[in-house]
Amino acid sequence: MARKVVITGLGATTPIGGDVPTMWKNALKGVSGARTIEADWVQEYDLPVTFAAQITVPASEVLSRVEAKRMDPSTQFAVIAAREAWRDSGLEEIDHDRFAVAFATGIGGVWTLLDAWDTLRAKGPRRVLPMTVPMLMPNGPAAAVSLDLGARAGAHTPVSACASGTEALHQGLELIRSGKADVVMCGGAEAAIHPMPIAAFASMHALSRRNDDPEHASRPYDVGRDGFVMGEGAGALLIEAEEHALARGARIYGELAGTSVTADAYHITAPDPGGLGATRALKAAMFDARVQPSDIGHVNAHATSTPVGDKPEYIALKTALGSHIDNVAVSATKSQTGHLLGASGAVEAVMTVLSVYERKLPVTINLENQDPEIPLDIVTTERTLPAGDLVALSNSFGFGGHNAVIVVRSV
């Protein structure tokens, strides 16, 4: 019998709130985090996309100046979210040798990398500062969280594009089940709202071009969807072995009942149109959690608002859940937060856990004309689920054909 793993702490810094309570209040109400980017470089480089979903509380307001100076923005966000999750968990005394980190990112320290390249070209190699390497490395967020909280049972960095944040929970669950750790700080962080990634994502036609109306640009499942909206931020979840949480009388949000990771092996960026990899991930996660399709009450979908991405996820859900899909309430929270890339799975996991804990579902905004080929029950107004056992899924898919799913069960 595998060890049961529970979630006891939550943290986030996002485009719809700088902490979990603010984010959650907004998620239930339905707000857009997308805005025109107020930076000179938008005009300077004549970017084809001029808006994004930026975090609402700048890291400089939360971290000290010296702390922030030594961290790439992606690491700053990770540390902010992880500290909130740690405080929220109520943990104090802990065996640090049994405490691990699994903190993901999709891209890593892209601001640091490109700033250093600019410095090298403008001022020469002497001016490229010695903190450049630790700031740009993709394991920077995991390493900083480990250092900050004293987690010594390994600091891991799953990197699987937009599935990274969800894969971090998969890794965390495995660490506890296998007995390598009792407590894991899981999460994902991303800070890539920089002209180069915007240009690159725009060149592959992945981004919405609704420049004149940013707040309505992220519209999963709507016939007018034309791409995702770049987001940034971090989500963090403190998970621990159930017996560890019970022994200290912790407040338990829910059980991380199962996870899965699969690969499409179909195309480097395009989703398998039949959703086969995603279907296998959904089935594997439910098997891992020992739940049936009929147990599922809620799905926090990946749903990025791209023309080609939203439908294969629907096909996968329909294949994996069968006719029960008609009884499942689906939320597409990227409509509010934008797409936080490697952090998205972690932020959505936080929302999924809160959905199970509070039985309230986040709202999908901007759904005006639902795509008739995607007949899901989308949550667009406040909705409360009845008492009783509740199981929810959260999906994430990434370029490279990565599929990751988590299963959260009420306790």
Binding site: S64, R65, V66, R126, L129, P130, M131
Partner: protein, 81 residues
């Protein structure tokens, strides 16, 4: 040409920017490592920033000789001469 007082004040500002230490704690007889707890990465950052601020070059092999703040002030003053 900066006076020793001006160099000290400039260095204190750089150290404060890098480490958050109060500028008035950066005194001539203080050791960078033992008193100010500055690690090698911060030291290199301070050196590079000092080079830019004072228009001097501090060779890498010289950095290990700069044990105290006073050593750095003396070196920078000499390099400016």
């Amino acid at each position: 040409m900066a006076s020793n007082e001006e160099i000290l004040a400039g260095l204190a500002e750089i150290v404060n920017e890098e480490t958050g230490l109060a500028p008035e704690s950066v005194e001539m007889d203080k050791s960078f490592t033992d008193d100010l707890d500055i690690d090698s990465i911060s030291m290199m950052t301070i050196v590079v920033n000092a080079e830019e601020k004072f228009g001097v070059r501090i060779p890498d092999e010289e950095v290990k000789n700069l044990k105290t703040v006073g050593d750095a002030v003396t070196f920078i003053s000499g390099a400016q001469a």
